[in-house]
Symmetry: C2
Subunit: 196 residues, 2 copies
């Protein structure tokens, strides 16, 4: 049932199983339409028992988001460190983000994007700080590439356009289709560096 999400090694604790189930349900039905009774039922406990692990339903949502941001920031950092040639580094970043969005953390990432406003403003700020670290990695890389003349337009805007392209992919990409994620990464990279 809950194949994806995974996120990390935290998974076989009661808390980890709750987070996995919650991420799955949140993506399927949305945060508001998912009840604590739904989450409890999908791990086989009573609804009240959830509140021994999280102090509120919103806390579960925040925990899902925090985990996935941390995990994917690490992945991005590794991708960046693994390449030195400019264009290869850009391709590595795009691949990493595609992996985040349609691969192992697809469910939690979808929740991060679509259920953002279900967080209190305070928790939104905290998550935004974590997200800013992720974005700074991108901007550092893009600024470097821009400085080396790999592309011409404003790196800040280019980053926004890449975010849009990769963020929309889960809505149409077919994992069983003939187009691979690496192919797609190349096509996206070509939107930045040109078809040369």
């Amino acid at each position: 049932m809950a194949e994806s999400l995974a996120i990390n090694g935290i998974d076989d604790s009661p808390r980890g199983r709750l987070l996995s189930a919650a991420a799955h349900l949140f993506r399927d039905k949305g945060f508001d339409r998912t009840t604590v009774r739904d989450i409890a039922a999908s791990v086989g406990i009573q609804s009240g028992s959830i509140f021994h692990h999280f102090k509120s339903k919103e806390d579960i949502l925040y925990a899902v988001m925090e985990e996935v941001i941390h995990f994917n920031t690490d992945r991005l950092r590794r991708a960046m460190a693994a390449e030195s040639r400019p264009e290869a580094q850009l391709r590595a970043l795009v691949r990493a983000e595609l992996q985040s969005n349609v691969g192992d953390t697809a469910e939690a990432m979808a929740v991060l994007v679509t259920e953002w406003r279900c967080l209190s403003e305070e928790k939104q700020s905290k998550a935004l700080e974590l997200r800013a670290i992720y974005e700074q990695l991108w901007l550092d890389a893009l600024n470097a590439l821009h400085g080396q003349g790999v592309f011409r337009d404003d790196p800040f805007i280019i980053r926004r356009l890449i975010t849009g392209m990769t963020g929309w992919v889960p809505n149409w990409f077919d994992r069983e289709g003939s187009l691979t994620l690496d192919d797609l990464a190349d096509i996206i990279v070509r939107r930045v560096v040109g078809e040369a």
Copy 2:
């Protein structure tokens, strides 16, 4: 208060005012967190009175989506008809979509994207049919451009990437900033036809 949305000439009927208020609230708080009491209060009537105009809360959401899809399909059709040169036509389509997403129908478009799953499956299908007409206009145009050698990659994938780019714009674009929508349209067009 409710400056945007507009959508059409239907606006000064009770129904039109309810749709405007609903679109605004749905974008602000989401469909589930918006109560019929909220909507009623924002047009100055009692909550029960809403059900003389719509038979359910979900019907309000569907009406908002239907109106905005029709309106923006017309706009796209006009944009396409107004240009004959390939690249100019592409730019016209991008401009039209940006106008839809961050201009006059921004609120209703945001609702269309984020509250999609709040519709029943039956209404989702109906909306999807309307949306398909819109998408077919894009594909026709992109296929023509592709045939004329304006770009090389698969038109179908390119359309998906454009959808992502333009769809994300409302999340970062600053209408008071120095970057205009036309500038942005040019930058996006350049992602398709190259920087030549």
